[in-house]
Structure formats: structure tokens, C-alpha cells
Symmetry: C2
Subunit: 386 residues, 2 copies
């Protein structure tokens, strides 16, 4: 299968920058200060696994007019130089006396007025990616300028994906679909779960994943109690339900879905639970179109998996997806976001199968004008058997 083109044309980054600048005017912001991987990549295209190292901070300023300014460790200058960004200022990080804050202040003083307000992401799914002592130095040094909320400008823009972004997520999902289809080859009863996890990650890579940042799962008799644990060395046993949930990446974009496998013939409870989960995702997908709300999707799924109408504590039944494994919004009853074409979501219902066990199923969709398009190949109601 052919891969999409890597990267984006510079016009996509320019468009994002201009759109953010329009919103900045509306919210009275002189600049945005970006500190996290997805935010910086969203405006610049700067893609590297080097973020795994927590040592050096990275900063990008999006002024209310003009192009973004990168204020970054010199080790990143060569890679940033290949992006559309031309104003790249570097320091020899790590610097124990001033790890970039002086250089950042200089740039912010240059592009914002004294009465300026500088927006920084402060909401769910965000954090400030620099040491707290440096954040405090920055705030002091900016005065009388103020560091304020970015009014969720970047989050709002990232909510609706471009066709180029959707193509990358679709490609990632197709890779995972093929990897899941190959699970029964070489994975079976007796294999320690830690080997199953290794083998599945290798399948993802063989099928074309760039890397596999997320794999969780579980295997236990007729269901599982936990969906976030790492693998133990306990062997798969007849009667187990094995669940594998992967967030693999292609060109910086995630898919995020799972599949369940019965080791040997499934019990009636497992069969019914699984088909109910698939029914829930199908029901939600059918109603997922512009104008419906996130809460609508929640209730559509919840009534299928919890016919009594109770709401399980563990939380949401899906979320946004894209440059991160989980993005805004969360599919919870309190979220009244109206669906728009281009939003990419996971539908992730869980069902109680008794004895403290659950089953979880997940699909990935993109909202189109005419309704939902599946990015994952939708699972049939019958649980897979290995």
C-alpha cells in the first residue's frame, strides 16, 4: 500500500498561523507562547522524538502579526532550519545559569508592547513545559506584560483536522488494522503477556508504524479489571479475553483503538458483552454528524452498554485524536461541543461483564458533512477468537 506524503506544505502552517492570529486579535493577545511538543509542531512542523529527553526546554512565539519565532537549544537548529520558520534563535543548552529564559524574554519584549498580554495554554490536556522556577522568572521578566490564558485558541483550531492530517491518521489506523488482523498468527495460549505485547509492537512496525508510543492491554478470564497496566509475564490461558489497545504513530499522527480476542471459545457473557460494545460504537457512528453534540454520542453509547441508564465512574466513552493519543474533547455527558466536519474522534465504550471485570472496545472516526467515516476498519459484533 502506498503511503501519504510526509510533512505538510508550508501553506498549511502559514494558514494555521494566520487563523491563530485572527483569534488573537479577537481575544486581545499580543502573542502566543508555545512550550509543548504538539503545540510547537502544529505551527512549525518540528517533528522529533528528542522530546523524550526532559532536559532542554523549547519555545516558539507566535506574534499577533508576522511569522513565528523559534527560541530553541542549538542542538535543534539544524532540524528547525528545515521547517518554514526563518527566525530561529538558539542558546547552548543546557545552561545552568539561564536555560533560554533571557533569550526568550528578549524576543517577547521585541514583539509585544508593554501592555501586552501573552497567551499560554492553561486548560485540560496542556501543561507548561518548562521548570516552574523558569516560569516564575519569565513572569517577573515580562512585567508589566502579563502571561494569560491563550483562550484555548490552539486547542480550538486543532479540533478540526485538515485533509492532510486526516490522511495521516487514516494511514496509522490502517497499519493498526493490519497488525490486529495478524495477531492470531503466532500469539496463543501459553505465551506470556509480555511476549504478546512485544510481538504486537513488532507487527505494528512490520506493517509500517514509525513508532509505537502506546500499547496497553490486559488478559484475564472472561474479561479484565484494568486497561492501563503494563504487561506481566503471566501466560495467556484458555478462556482469557486478550485486549490490545495501541496508539501507533505515522508521520507524527496517532491512531488509537483496541481489539479483543477470546483465547478459545468465548463464553455467552463475553459474546454478548462484545456484540453490545460494537452495537454501541455503530449507534454512535450513525448519529455522529455535524450538529450532533459530544453528549449525544455519550448517551447513545451509554444506553446500549448500560441499559439501566447508570453512568460508570471510570469516565469517558471516547475522545479527540490526532497529534496526541488523546485530545480535546472528552466524550462525557458534560461535554456539549457541537460536532463539525473534520473532527477526529475515538468511540470507546466499556461494558461490565460481572465479577469486577469489564470489556472495552474502541473505533476511530472522522466527522464528514454526510456523517461519520470510519478510520479504523470497524469490528464485527463477533469477538475474534485465537
Amino acid at each position: 500500500m502506498t503511503s501519504p506524503i510526509r510533512g505538510f506544505p508550508a501553506s498549511e502552517f502559514r494558514g494555521r498561523t494566520r487563523a491563530a492570529q485572527n483569534l488573537m486579535v479577537k481575544h486581545g493577545l499580543s502573542a502566543l507562547l508555545l512550550t509543548t511538543e504538539p503545540e510547537i509542531r502544529y505551527y512549525t512542523g518540528f517533528l522529533t522524538r528528542f522530546w523524550e529527553s526532559p532536559t532542554r526546554p523549547w519555545f516558539v512565539i507566535v506574534p499577533v502579526s508576522g511569522d513565528p519565532i523559534a527560541v530553541i537549544p542549538s542542538i535543534g537548529a539544524h532540524l528547525m532550519g528545515q521547517s518554514w520558520i526563518t527566525d530561529i534563535r538558539t542558546w547552548a543548552a543546557p545552561d545552568y545559569t539561564d536555560d533560554g529564559i533571557g533569550l526568550l524574554l528578549e524576543a517577547l519584549h521585541e514583539v509585544t508592547p508593554k501592555a501586552g498580554q501573552i497567551g499560554i495554554a492553561d486548560q485540560m490536556e496542556s501543561h507548561v513545559h518548562m521548570p516552574l522556577a523558569d516560569l516564575r522568572r519569565l513572569e517577573t521578566g515580562l512585567s508589566p506584560r502579563r502571561l494569560v490564558s491563550d483562550a484555548a485558541i490552539t486547542r480550538q483550531m486543532r479540533l478540526v483536522k485538515s485533509e492532510a492530517e486526516i490522511e495521516k491518521i487514516r494511514h496509522a489506523a490502517a497499519i493498526a488494522t493490519r497488525a490486529f488482523d495478524r495477531v492470531p498468527q503466532g500469539i496463543g495460549a501459553g505465551m506470556p503477556l509480555s511476549h504478546v505485547f512485544r510481538r504486537f509492537q513488532m507487527l505494528c512496525l512490520e506493517e509500517g508504524a514509525d513508532w509505537v508510543p502506546y500499547l496497553a492491554g490486559a488478559a484475564d478470564h472472561s474479561g479484565y479489571a484494568d486497561v492501563i497496566s503494563p504487561a506481566t509475564d503471566a501466560p495467556l490461558a484458555q478462556g482469557d479475553v486478550l485486549m490490545l489497545d495501541t496508539g501507533l504513530v505515522w508521520d507524527g499522527y496517532f491512531c488509537d483503538f483496541d481489539r479483543n480476542f477470546s483465547v478459545g471459545p468465548p463464553t455467552e457473557t463475553v459474546k454478548t458483552g462484545h456484540s453490545r460494545l460494537v452495537e454501541a460504537t455503530q449507534t454512535a457512528a450513525e448519529m455522529a454528524r455535524p450538529g450532533a453534540t459530544i453528549a449525544d454520542l455519550f448517551h447513545a453509547m451509554n444506553v446500549v452498554v448500560n441499559p439501566s441508564g447508570t453512568i460508570m465512574e471510570a469516565g469517558r466513552l471516547g475522545h479527540g485524536l490526532g497529534m496526541q493519543l488523546t485530545e480535546w474533547p472528552s466524550i462525557i455527558p458534560q461535554d456539549h461541543t457541537v460536532l463539525m466536519a473534520g473532527m477526529v474522534l475515538t468511540l470507546e465504550p466499556s461494558v461490565d461483564v460481572g465479577a469486577g471485570k469489564i470489556l472495552v472496545h474502541e473505533e476511530n472516526i472522522v466527522i464528514r458533512d454526510s456523517g461519520a467515516e470510519f478510520l479504523s476498519h470497524p469490528q464485527s459484533p463477533d469477538i475474534r477468537v485465537i
Copy 2:
């Protein structure tokens, strides 16, 4: 080969907690507030890849006396319940009106006096892992208690590894050593670099890695300009030097080292550059014993790779290693940390080979009373050839 035992005995977490509490008394702190993955895992053993999801915050309080308190999303209760922590307080995250801050405040009010100072990591390699708006709500709600620097207590403790920790890092390094030895099988001229990266990650998994959070590298004629870029689809060519630098994980602990491969016979410049890099790591390893300083290691390596005595801008020549790919300290001239037995370090010199190209070499060592012990199998001066 046999694997070490996974996890740690509860006594190790208790010992860390008591040691931190002694330091808290010394620094006048009533509690530590932990928000990041390595900090929380260091005191609790809570190991999950679920941190890849940025949505839910996680909090652990280490009071100046008594056991730690986990204040976490209910989705993590089952896994945290398997740790030595017994006081686990949960909420149904994500909660759009109060995502755990109320519950966290309640717990902090309970275990700290009104005049209390609560320490939070604020230095290099750390950040506050919660939305900025929530941090501000927390500070307001804590008043008159104050959120202050944790005086680097956790960083200082993590600097010296226990034997159980060293064993996990050694195991991770042995896995990478075997994976590097297999590179010449099936990787060669004509293969796109993106395939090389995939294939190498598969080798790491085959050899026993739990997952491969970090792989960077490069391939270019007689050296490379950049060591943090993701792979392109450009094919390996005769005369290229291929560098692969991996941080793979076993039971939550990283190794971090690279190997260089000449595609076809190396040029004299490449041969000399490579042997000089190996000489630099050997020289540093020979002097790395308790009492020497980090700056000593820097200068010992720098004089070998830069006989003129200049210091390259791109920065450090190694760093700490353990639960994170890069940890405190940085091997730079300004770091005067005195080496202690149990410190795990990478030695990572780079050498300028002209035309804007460099070569980088890296080894992992642990400081023992008698000197350095290699955790990576040390590379010979001759560059590997494929």
C-alpha cells in the same frame, strides 16, 4: 539470558520515602507534591504507559511523616492498588469543573499545617504536570500554605541508583547491545532510513525490550549534521555513516547509547574520528570514580575530541540515566557534581569531521567504589562496517 525480577520490594519504596522525609525536615517542608511520571513512580512503583495520554492529571503527596497519599483518576485505582500505597483517593476524571484539584486540596489541608511549605520540583528536567489554570487554583486554595521549591530532594535521591535499579539498566543495555550486534543482518545499502529505523526497533523488541520510547539517528556521507531528526525515506548509500541512538526500556528503566556503522569501507577521516570518540569514552571511564567531578569527565573527553581545547556549542558530553532517557546531571564544564558510587551516566562525546558533519558515540557506565563499570558493551575503536 535470564531477566531480573520485575518491580521492587516495598522496602525500597519505604526507604526512599523515609530518606525524602529526612531531607524534608532539613529543608522545612511539610510535604512534597509529585505530578510527573518519574517522580510518582519513584515513590510508588506506579508503572504505566498511560502517561502518553495528556488528559488526566495524577498527584501523589509525600507528607513529612506517614505514607504517601495518591490522589488520582479512578481509572488508575486498580493499578495503584497493587502498589504499596494504601491511601488512594480518586475522582471520575476527566471532570470539566474540578479535575482533582478540590480532592488534592482536601488531602494537602489534612496533612500540612497552615504555615506549611509544600515542595514541588522546579528545576531543570522537571515541569509541573497539570494545566496552568489548575496550578493557579491550587496555589490560591492552599493559601496561607505556600508552594515552594522541593530543594531538589527527589532529584538528589534519584542521582544514586540502588542495585535493583542498576540491574534493570544493565538488562536494558544488554538488550540494546544484542540489537546493535544484529544490525548488519538485513540492513544495508539501498534500504530507506525509515525502514532501518523500523527494523532496528523490531530487533530491540526481539531481544527483549518492553518498548522503545526513543530512537534517533542519521545517515549521511562520511558523517551527519543532525542527531535528533526522525528518519526520512532516503536510502542508505555506500559511504554513509549510519548512526542509531536508542533509549529502550525494560521494566521502566532506560539504556541510552548509540553505535555507528560505515556502509562500505570507512574513509580515513571517519576511521580516525570514530577511534578518537572511543578513546574519549575510555579515558573518561578510566577516571570516573568517587571523588572525581562531572567537569573532570567533560574535560577528559573534550581534550581528546577537540585537541585545540575549543568547546563545541551543541553542548554536553553525556548525562544521568535511569527512569528517564536523560537525567541530572549534564556533563558540561559548569557541573561540579562529585561522583558517587551508584551514579549511572552516559558518556557521549562528538567529533567534528568537517564539511558541517559530526560523529557521536555514547556508552553507559555506573560508578563503583573501584571505578566505572560499563553497562553497555564498550565499542572497539574500529567503526563497525555493514
